[in-house]
Amino acid sequence: MAADAVGGILLAGITLYAVFAGADFGGGLWDLLAGGDRRGREPRRLIDETVTPVWEANHVWLVFDLVIFWTAFPHAFAAVMIAVALPLWLAAAGIVLRGSGFAFRHELSRLSLQRAAGATFAFSSLVTPFFMGAVIGAIATGSIPAGASHASLAAWTSPTALLAGFLFVAACSYLAAVYLTAEAARRGNARMQAYFTRRAQVAGVAAGALSLAALAALHSSNPTLDARLLTGRALPLAVLAAVSGLAALGLLTAGRPRGVRLIAALGVAAVVWGWGVAQYPVLLPGTGVTLSNAGAPGTTMVALVILFIVAVLCIGPSLALLFSLQGRRLLHADETGTLTAAGLSLSRPTPAGRSPVIRAAVVTLVVLAALARRRRPH
């Protein structure tokens, strides 16, 4: 069935966006938490060098996903675009600020301007995945009516949707920290390896906790989805996500970062596919909108499948070339743009090296506690 195939393509596109561009957003988050100019210089430099050559290519997955969504499922697309317009506007604004802030920081040479551009980049890296997560949460909880005619604040501020937003942020930070740990190890930089290992552990635990909290919240907001994830057909994927997460944490703790990138990405991919498989074939839970009746004829679906095959044949080798050149460190941001000062002092330099990690953990716990309390009265 062509519609199912296109649904799979869309899910694959979302997965690729999550595991590639998600890590670029996470890099921004660690940039934000890296502390003052002097202390944050080394992690910022590693983040910058790994994100710079690839972020634009990774970003294109989002455009690809939007196009597949509106072409294959126009009715669902229009409903989502109306019902959760606000977080989508905010995510779009975040994308503009992230990209331009990052590009501008490269070229600026005065420290104060670098700080401003860097803060723009880093802060928007935090909020953009949050709003994207809230949108996915709104869809998963069945808060998007098929014939939506007005934006709804409640749709994306339910506990489940907000938890999904935080989960996205945690997952991005986790992926970024894992990738950066592996990169630091490959460069033989033990200090940065230890630095990002700690952060990967914290973010991994936070992502795991948020996943469990989201599952618990789904129990009341979308019992069908919840049941399929916990006992039904999506269970293997849920198990795979948990096992991958634990394996990645184990490898990191043991100081063996080889292969951990793939395992971490697999874990995140399993979460995305778990959601997709649990929801299948319904596109907007709580409505009758499915993969096959969302407004596109079969001819469009067939055209999209062919297009995807062509895309894989064109983009696959090109991306492989880009990543292999980057992996062999043949791509350099030298005179044509380099991160020179990487100044950012949103947080004052503190003597305790672990403080940003502790801060991130405290913030996560507070948020979790607040959400848990909000859920009780129901």
Binding site: W70, P74, F77, V96, A296, A303, L322, D334, E335, A341
Partner: protein, 467 residues
Amino acid sequence: MTGTGVPTLLAAAHVSGEVVPARAQMAATLGFHIILAALGIALPSIVLLAEFLGLRRRDQTAMRLARRWSQAMGVLVAVGAVTGTVLSFEMGLLWPGLMRQYGAVLGFPFGVEGIFFFLEAIFTAIYLYGWRRLGGWAHFWSGVPIALSGIFGAMSVIAVNSWMNQPGGFTEHNGQITSVDVWQVYFNHAAIYEMPHMILAAYMVSGFTVAGIYAAGILRGRRDRYHYTGFAIGFIPAAILTPFQIFVGDTAARAIAADQPVKFAAMEYVAQTSRDVPEWIGGVYANGHIYGGLKIPGLDSVLVGFRPSTKVIGWDSVPAAYRPPVVWLLHLCFDVMVGLGSLLLLAGLWAAWEWWRRRRLPAQRLFWLAGAVSGLAAIVAMECGWVVTEVGRQPWVVYQLQTTTAAATTNGGVIASLSIVIVGYAVLGVATIAILRMLARRWRRGDLAGAGVPYGPADRAPRRAGS
């Protein structure tokens, strides 16, 4: 064309107060992005031309220009990528009615564009960051896919816009799209003239903009080989393409007279369908009168059908509700586009004449003044062209099938997003120009990115001066 159930959808149109701010926001964001898009399409070719000359002739000046331009290109591509993404969001956030009804039809060309956008982003990264380690011709060839995907990506996006002007390639039954012929959607009737028109415009904008920057430097007394080379690499391709653009534009105007007669009537002030129609140059239409302007009897008929007896369809052929608003804006934008195009042609002819007679570029200050503003002129002409095609299609978003009102979002608050967009894009535009100027100043001073800046990574490789 299939599915011409003209105003059936009009009945289903939501009465929405959001259509005017939504159009304003789309105009602001598209008007901003189109400049970056044009540079994204054609600037890589100009950078590659400089690198080609640098490699082929072992010309250090051309090589240095290529390297510096690619740094500017890095900034422009990044801003273009994110502002283009905003447009993707806006397709749904501002025009959910359009996407709901026709997403399955116009989505396919966007999908093709996605592939080329991907290739562009990937090879741009390789090209921009490969200067040091990918040597010589390998680096040059890594840039060729950027230039090609720019052209094909532009074709795909224009396929969507031209489809909105000349929709076809699908069947609609009871308001449902039942089948789509993607080939006919992509190569629709208007694509044949809109695609080359925009791609040539992109090359003119990029070439003249590059030339304008160096002409301004020459006017300020920087008369060195570096500035003359920079000017020539931008100006010559743009000037060569200008006559082709005028030919394509002329063909397009005649096609519009046949395909969208009401748009053409507004462009040329044709109120009543008649023969021997005059051509108005300038002039403001208000309350049934044309104030000012130069009237050339019979010329419009000649331009449309090569003889004064040609009948030109006026806007009286449709009820007032189906005519584009603000006719004078359309007409003046059309005149400004044609006028600026003609002036750019003259500048190119002037340079060609001097080259033919004296083997040098004109020495007159006027030529360099013209050169300095040529980039701005090309940008203004392109923006005017977009005003003509977009405002001229009103009140339709999909010509004769869906009104813009029916396409607009039913959500309130577009005024808020419009305000934020205007302020945000103003800041973004100023910041982008400031960064590019800062790069130019840094290049002129001869110092390099980051030299002498505190907190710079300590173990960075030593830099070579002058590149």
